[in-house]
Symmetry: C2
Amino acid sequence: MTDRSPLAPAAFPSLPSIEGVTLRTARAGYKAWTRCDLTYVEMDAGTAVAGVTTQSKCPSPEVEWCRDAIPLGSARALVVNAGNANAFTGHRGRAAVEAIAARVANHLSCLPSDVFVSSTGVIGVPLPIDKAEAGLDAAFTAIPCGWEEAATTIGTTDTYAKGASASAMIGDVRVELVGIIKGSGMIAPDMATMLGYIFTDAAIDPALLQSMLSAANKRTFSCITVDSDTSTSDTVLAFATGKAGNAPLTSMDDAGADAFHAALTDLCRQLAHLVVRDGEGATKFVEINVEGATSDDSAHRIGLSIANSPLVKTAIAGEDANWGRVVAAIGKAGEPADRDTLSIRFGTTQVASGGLAVEGYDEAPVAAHLKGQDIVIGVDLGLGDGRATIWTCDLTHGYISINADYRS
Amino acid sequence: MTDRSPLAPAAFPSLPSIEGVTLRTARAGYKAWTRCDLTYVEMDAGTAVAGVTTQSKCPSPEVEWCRDAIPLGSARALVVNAGNANAFTGHRGRAAVEAIAARVANHLSCLPSDVFVSSTGVIGVPLPIDKAEAGLDAAFTAIPCGWEEAATTIGTTDTYAKGASASAMIGDVRVELVGIIKGSGMIAPDMATMLGYIFTDAAIDPALLQSMLSAANKRTFSCITVDSDTSTSDTVLAFATGKAGNAPLTSMDDAGADAFHAALTDLCRQLAHLVVRDGEGATKFVEINVEGATSDDSAHRIGLSIANSPLVKTAIAGEDANWGRVVAAIGKAGEPADRDTLSIRFGTTQVASGGLAVEGYDEAPVAAHLKGQDIVIGVDLGLGDGRATIWTCDLTHGYISINADYRS
């Protein structure tokens, strides 16, 4: 890993173990590195699964595999390969995924569709099946490891290991949720993709878990952007072992379902923020709160238009309260907006309102806010009740250095 | 002006004068600079006008003024203010535009709606009416100047003056077209916007001129992007004085209409390329040819998705034939695409085809192509007949320096 992001948390958190989940890592040698690069997670029989994957029209074979397996609802294992995305590799890429699933299925005496596979790294190079198989064989007999080692092993250009936890009460049973994630951009191809894995001991029907995960995804992972480039391989999977002993959740009306949903959403938000905080070249974490839009979806698109604007992102890097660039980004979003009802805040200071600059606003708190690491931009469109929050980072020389001063 | 773009033409071209068009410049002093910053163009009575303006939902009052005046079809003057965009300035911005139009109308004894106004520069500061009026008074009595001086005066962060010409035969009459343009990005707010002005001595009905300009715009200005940030103020106006003496064009069926349309489109393309070649921080001019899409519009959107991808743009800056990033950009476009029928070229070399890398393709010509200043990326989606060409530039440290290492 390269220099730790200035926005990284001080340390990897202390995370509880999840009953029914066993983590192991091994070195398949996908790249010329000496670290472990294959993560193998075994889950007890009866584990439910849900997932969300990239909207890309050019998905990796791993994404296609997961899309087919998720609706079946059950999981026994997860394999994550780091250093090779196996994307855009035709039938050879598909064959590698099938070989991995078959080898794990044989080892666990389960169905291949119970085995979930992700890969992250360079695009266009088929994952070498021999290395994957040897790596798996090593993993099968490896000593189990902890969350931090697994979170480190799934990473590529990540500058720190990312994990988080949450908990909820279902009836009188406390259930635990733990997530690990990797990513240093919505995409940073060749070397990165967002992959997130959530494990819980709760007993929950896979269809309900899927609906909760999809809803959480819409408000968390779908609300972050580093560079607007969506990956071929983005995947978030949630596994529920059912070992906590709670009365199984099967509907949102069940006691504890709301609490579990809230905990799952909270965990997704934590993980999503960890990715933005490792955005390539990032020096500022930026929250964009949009309100007063004609709908929540419209607010979401306006927020993303601001968050993806290179000019807004470079202004923040330059600690410049350049609200004119925010106006331009709102104007180009293609969503309902009325220049003359629009107002903009930096931090808590209103800088523009009713179609023009707020005359004589105090620049001192704005300048102080922009010098910090956590920037909040507020936009009120003055049109309706639609709202959304988007998280992003600034755009700096570091991003250019990582992505241009580099050859594949 | 800062250092001339490495992609700039060797010199400003030799351009013919257009009968019925008189150029003058003056110093209004919108910024603390000593150069002229107000361009005043007088056109003889009978001049037809057409125009296209930004799609932004937060347009400048100048854009709104032009949108109202264009359908009336006649023009007598153009005023361009450099150094202040007058955007997002409420009723005070509108009043400044009205004051300028009124003063010119009084000077020329014409209607205010015959006066076209553009402004470019910082957003959010009302254009000072007293400076505009004093600048206009100075311009009214200034000695007429040439195209290069006018092209220089409309510029802001532009690193070189931009002009081009074309000609066409209408019957046995040769008509001339000259255009000047400024812009160093689709937007580079605070200090730039794309403003283009085309002048011709052809006699042409304004409605026909409008339809030709709109069609040309769709294939030229709408096909360029520097940073994906659409301006609040982008404007292209075409003025036809009718002094060439050709039989007036009133329909596409008239003799010479096709030739004139082709010349106008050619001129628009030249001007559009000049803007990309002055893209902020640009070191490479990039043409993206998309074919095989399900429609031309779909090809256009896929081309823009590639052209706006920070990861594609940084790869080109790094002279890296990173076609995986092109695949990812196609995949995220939201348009029909099939990974397994997709092929990609760099220069003339096919690097990926049928869903995977072309095995053993010769990397030498690809590397040589990427070391050049003019990069061509070809994408064949293999789905239909839709095609589009998009032009952009690379994304470099220069862009970050211009936009982040800077305070407004």
